[in-house]
């Protein structure tokens, strides 16, 4: 598989009101790879992630400079259709947040919103997405049951299935396993690793071990700056920047 740049971030600066949350960040995110973002609390990981599907639009008073290109198109240009963008760039949140609907309706939510009404086609999409999210076997007999009755780990995989159902190309995950027990976490991590064959994945985590385990590339943020970005292997065995080294060896702060 050739290494293609899927997302290109150039000199990104981001403000909340007058507070600079990101400072001149440039990053190339590769297609079909897992890119992990690590760093201490408040360093701007989530902000960066949410810039990529313009979820930050929801917060009033934010300002952005620089460029974010996905497949070469500037997603912050005036002509960008945000709704289309978000169909292409799925997102999974820190706390699993299934809708209080049946498992089926949760996964079918996106496709339905985009106008798919045909029952057979929906069923197909739901089944496929649940399978991709490695949760089909656990729920296939209770698709009509409320999603709220699933365990935390299952809920999170359901949310991944829901994101997959709109057939995105990129999946953003903001600490998808931080609220889970180790066993569910292991399952999610395994799943993420499988998903990269079809999707480009960007994952925020404050668990360095997790970044080490799942990702191909890792970026280390500090106070809104991208300090180091490279091969995960390299970051964790021989980082170039001493601040990265300090952080991953636990000598920081």
């Amino acid at each position: 598989m050739a290494n293609n740049t899927k997302i290109m971030v150039e000199n990104l600066i981001f403000y909340y009101g007058n507070d600079k949350a990101l400072e001149d960040v440039s990053m190339l995110i590769q297609e079909n790879k897992i890119t992990a973002l690590i760093g201490p609390s408040g360093c701007g990981k989530s902000t960066f992630l949410r810039v990529l599907n313009r979820m930050n639009d929801l917060i009033p008073g934010t300002k952005l400079k620089g460029k974010v290109l996905i497949d070469g198109y500037d997603i912050y240009s005036n002509t960008t259709d945000v709704v289309e963008l978000r169909k292409k760039v799925g997102m999974v949140f820190q706390k699993s947040n299934p809708f209080p609907k049946s498992i089926f309706d949760n996964v079918a939510y996106g496709p339905r919103a985009h106008g798919i009404r045909d029952k057979a086609r929906l069923t197909n999409i739901v089944e496929e997405s649940l399978e991709k999210a490695a949760i089909w076997d656990e729920v296939k007999d209770k698709l009509k049951q409320s999603a709220m009755e699933l365990s935390g780990g299952q809920q999170q995989r359901l949310c991944i299935a829901r994101a997959l159902a709109i057939n995105p190309e990129i999946i953003l995950m903001d600490e998808p396993a931080s609220a889970l027990d180790p066993i569910s976490t292991a399952k999610i991590e395994e799943l993420i690793r499988v998903l990269k064959e079809k999707y480009t994945i960007v994952i925020v985590t404050h668990n360095m071990q997790q970044a080490a385990r799942v990702s191909d590339y890792t970026g280390f943020f500090l106070l809104g700056e991208l300090i180091e970005f490279s091969d995960t292997n390299k970051i964790f065995t021989s980082p170039q920047d001493s601040r990265t080294e300090d952080y991953i060896t636990g000598r920081f702060g």
Binding site: N53, M55, L58, P60, V83, E84, L85, R86, K87, K88, G90, M91, F93, K95, N97, P98, F99, P100, K101, Y109, G110, A113, H114, S146, M148, C159, R162, A163, I166
Partner: protein
């Protein structure tokens, strides 16, 4: 000095004492209502009481059919909720889903304040402003009609509906909205297919409580509903809802008389209607609780 354990026990029993008093008092109310209301059964069968078409308590022999009163209440209440529910729910959705934070923070407390306006003030307003206006508009002999009462009650009940619905909508986790938007949907789609369904039980509760507010309202209907104890055929007729009837006649009813008991019996009926509505609201809010919706 008493031991710490003893002190704890003493305080606990003190609380138990006060709690018992207030609960006792509250149950006394029911006891009294039934004690004074039930004797009417000796005069008129419960069915005749409920479904009798004439209310002539002072005739000889008196007639104690409260159907006209019930129908009066029903007419006024239905009228009220057709105004209060659509307007109230729409406003609640506007406040929680569309309005920006500043507008919401301004309007929400204002509306809650208005929920506290005394009913006699609404009655007064209905009497001096709305009734003449209705009279002119429809060219009626009197402006004191079921419609006038409905309008006033509708206005009165809408703050209740708005306030409780908006609470329900706001307490739908923000994460649902984010999830929906992140799937590439519009705000409106998100509102009707995620937020409102999630808050549905809270909204239902709001509507039921709004309706209860209309049914139990006394002074306003006493002042603007017209007071005729007939079964209404249009909203433009005067009516005499149950609450208005009780208060209007209690002054004249001789203590211990059949009339007196009949009025208490109406109170018992009202009590059961409110009970039913409250149970319904309770049921709805419990029923959907685990789906993360907001309730009272």
């Amino acid at each position: 000095m008493i031991s710490r354990k003893g002190k704890d026990l003493l305080i606990q029993n003190l609380f138990l004492f006060f709690a018992s008093i207030s609960i006792l008092v509250l149950f006394l109310i029911m006891a009294f209502l039934f004690k004074e209301g039930l004797p009417i059964i000796e005069v008129v069968s419960p069915l005749r009481f409920l479904f009798g078409k004439s209310w002539y308590p002072t005739y000889e022999p008196p007639e104690f059919g409260i159907l006209p009163l019930i129908m009066g209440s029903v007419a006024v209440t239905l009228g009220a909720i057709t105004i209060a529910i659509p307007l109230g729910v729409a406003t609640a959705i506007y406040l929680s889903e569309v309005a920006n934070l500043r507008v919401k923070e301004l309007l929400k407390p204002v509306i809650e304040l208005l929920a506290g306006v005394p009913s006699v003030v609404y009655g007064f307003f209905g009497l001096v402003v709305v009734a003449p206006w209705i009279q002119d508009l429809f060219d009626l002999p009197t402006g004191l009609t079921a419609l006038t009462a409905s309008i006033m009650l509708g206005i009165m009940a809408s703050p209740t509906v708005i306030s409780i619905s908006e609470d329900a909508l706001s307490s739908v986790p923000i994460s649902y909205r984010e999830a929906s938007l992140a799937l590439g949907t519009t705000k409106w789609h998100t509102a009707i297919s995620v937020t409102v369904p999630a808050a549905l039980s809270g909204i239902c509760t709001a509507c039921i409580l709004g309706m209860a507010r209309a049914i139990e309202e006394t002074m306003t209907v006493l002042m603007v509903a017209g007071g005729a104890a007939i079964i209404p055929t249009t909203l433009l007729q005067p009516v005499r809802p149950m609450t208005a009837n009780i208060i209007a006649e209690m002054g004249e009813a001789v203590h211990g008389s059949e009339h007196f008991h009949a009025l208490f019996a109406i109170a018992v009926v009202l009590f059961f209607i409110t009970l039913a509505l409250n149970l319904l609201a309770d049921y709805i809010s419990h029923r959907f609780k685990e789906t993360g919706s907001a309730t009272l």
